[in-house]
Amino acid sequence: MANKYVTDEVRKQIGMQSEARVVEVERGAIRRFAEAIGDPNPLFNDEAAARRTRFGGMIAPPTFGEFRGLDGGSEWEYFEPIRPGDRISVVSKIADIRESAGRLGAMVFITVETSYTNHYNQLCAVQRSTVIRY
């Protein structure tokens, strides 16, 4: 069955990506975020204690810097820790657009993949969110 909305033309958008947005990670912002969650883990609060761990210093909690908008739920994968002073380059791209027939008619699933890369060009995290359009 041919797709009603997700035509070949629409699928050409797969792979399109945003301009990089650079976010500078401040130590105070990490602390305030951990405090807001109520997370006393010294890795996120206490530089002296965090230095004695294998991380060698404070890092950001995994859910730090989450973005609203696509808040229907998301999936995160973490590779390198995000540290105070990092300049994180955030790039979103359309990873997939597909259509499927549901009870309410055709549904279009758009998967957006956002990558978070530090200023040493190390990939810190990848977030995948899927938005559904009826």
């Binding site: 305030r32 969650i37 010294p42 890795l43 294998r54 859910t63 739920g73 998301s74 995160w76």
Partner: protein, 147 residues
């Protein structure tokens, strides 16, 4: 810091230590400030009521943050949270206790990494799962310790 758990210490079915939270309106304001999510349904009661909500509600991302805390506590300093995914199923309000829970569903090694997959969720006082998700954690192995 808490005691480090090792890959050998867990099996499929093992429980992730639960994390209890008692969110307050103050916490929601703090989270709004720290995350930059200033949608008024999280701190302005009149606004929330006018939007057919029972009152202010927790940010979904805050509940994700609670689940993240449970998992980084579980992983310990020597472990690493590799994956975290959540889906929101219901609303939660400040003033009501919520509990993060989880259990190991799979234990495996991939390359040099020792991993466990967990099923995680956040429960309200009625025992309803208002957020569900999954997590993958790399744990240190005692094998590696001896090597």
């Amino acid at each position: 810091m808490t005691k480090q758990i090792y890959w050998e210490d867990v099996e499929a079915g093992s429980e992730v230590p639960a994390l209890e939270k008692n969110p307050t309106t103050q916490q929601l304001v703090r989270y709004a400030g720290a995350s930059g999510d200033f949608y008024q349904i999280h701190y302005d009661k009149d606004f929330a009521l006018n939007n057919n909500l029972p009152g202010v509600i927790l940010h979904g991302a805050l509940k994700n943050g609670f689940l993240g805390q449970m998992m980084t506590d579980f992983a310990g300093d020597r472990g690493w949270l590799r994956k975290l995914s959540v889906q929101y199923r219901g609303m939660d309000q400040p003033g009501a206790r919520v509990v993060c829970k989880g259990k190991v569903v799979k234990k495996y090694a991939a390359g040099s990494e020792h991993l466990v997959d967990c099923e995680i969720w956040l429960e309200n006082a009625k025992g309803e799962k208002t957020t569900i998700g999954g997590a993958t954690v790399i744990l240190p192995s005692r094998e590696g310790e001896r090597a």
